[in-house]
Symmetry: C2
Subunit: 327 residues, 2 copies
Amino acid sequence: MKEFYMSLALKEAWKYQFLTYPNPAVGCVILDKNNQILSIKAHEKQGEAHAELNAIKEALKLLKPEFNFPKEPNALHEFILTNHQKLLQNATAFVTLEPCAHQGKTPPCAKLFSTLEFKKVFVSVKDENQIASGGAEFLRQNGILVEMGILEKEGRELLKPFLKWQKGAFKLFKLALSLNGSALGKFVSNETSRIYAHQIRSIIDLLVVGGGTLRKDRPILDSRLCGGKAPNLCILSHQNLESFDKTISAFNVKNRQIFTQIPSNAKFLMYEGGAEFLKSFKNQMDMFLIFHNAKFNQEENVKLDLELRPLFKGNFKEDSYGIYELL
Amino acid sequence: MKEFYMSLALKEAWKYQFLTYPNPAVGCVILDKNNQILSIKAHEKQGEAHAELNAIKEALKLLKPEFNFPKEPNALHEFILTNHQKLLQNATAFVTLEPCAHQGKTPPCAKLFSTLEFKKVFVSVKDENQIASGGAEFLRQNGILVEMGILEKEGRELLKPFLKWQKGAFKLFKLALSLNGSALGKFVSNETSRIYAHQIRSIIDLLVVGGGTLRKDRPILDSRLCGGKAPNLCILSHQNLESFDKTISAFNVKNRQIFTQIPSNAKFLMYEGGAEFLKSFKNQMDMFLIFHNAKFNQEENVKLDLELRPLFKGNFKEDSYGIYELL
């Protein structure tokens, strides 16, 4: 069953893939001393609780609904260390990444498990990060059983975007298709899919689009559906930026920087466009985020040769989406 | 958490959707007295164990690996009634359909729960079948807590094919597409997807194809990938059957009946074909089984107007598939 619980943690983490930038996507499942599932949670966003803290909070909430948890991660951490009442003594955790042992923006998660007297912690992937690693060793020194390498291949796939943007730049291509492969039409994806895309836009360093799309669709390319920050823009075009109609909405977003070349300090870039843009840049991409709605239409499909390997598949109501890498 | 456990039972049942014909697809999850998950199983095929029996067997196997269970469902049922050692006393079950209370091809599942002294049985959908129903009442009379209606909407969706073929004919359209919506090419889907399609072929009453496909692809249309029975064929064509080249493989399958009109006694029919065939029959279909591989190509897509509603999404390695109904 340990692979089953780890798969729940991995799946939960994938739901927040990209959104945790610059942090890694991490998931955590907690079982009580009798192996009853208490919580399945993930790290959702930089600056918010780590997956372990989130899952422990959720587990305690189930056991003590009267707890009034503070929202801020440091205060939450402190609250739990003070008020846990040994409610999670001999509990088990499944974490997709080795719990951190260092004081970062939030206190170390390994400390949480030891103070709360967990019995066992299963880990998918060892943390190779020099600063944060050492969690497993810390846990063992504190008498907690640690088993590493549960669904390790899957755990490594979850970490791929993080490892890429940590070392250099991570490039994601976003494409929205109908069930029969057409990228045409204004609202191909439903609102839930577009909210996810806007959430990604709100945390990336750069949104990269083609000049043609900008002229034709005159989009605003912001993050309004999630109330987030509009991304800086890089417009790749054969034509001079001066020649563009400046009443196009994308040019009139407050505090937006606009580039015509990729700035070297951009670590997480999302490319958005249709068939031609994909054809031009497919081989430079690290991953592809492809939405499919549930409709056939009469439009032409995106035609190009491209073999992908799915890493995750999810659903947003009637839409589905896949996160792929080049085969 | 009860919705979570029921969703696991539903998902497991969907994996065997269509394959249980003429029985309904049913899933079952079993928790021990401390709410630890012991098993997640489904009814897989007519004549084999019901979901409840399968899940109970799996749970006991986990608790007593030395048990040597008979395979035949009646013998398995008897073995469990005799050898359970109260190992599942106070256990909880989540079943997508009210457990049967009648002696059918196998003994009643409700009896299993009462003899093994389960504490509680959660049910998604009440069994409206006159013969099999009464399971909840039987359980309650035997002191077992019963809670009906957990994820009932989802439970009813799972039963749709069964309710349709029970009352008349259930028509499924199978379509295999590339990620960009083309139905062209010989092996669009991978072997795992095709095995599922062959499993369905092996249990349907009738495979319906167009004359054009037959002439062009010269397929055999059997169930060789799962070693099952080749389905009877209905060839819908404007041309007389006499005019077909009889060396086409499909005509040379042993014990295959070939029709040119849908026989009225066919209860489960699968339509297979491409864009034109789908266009002709889409409005008569009850459901659509659509496979997508993970490749873009240079081929034309399937063009038609068709809005669908997904009921289930699954994956077969790099392929994904959806089961849809008309919106």
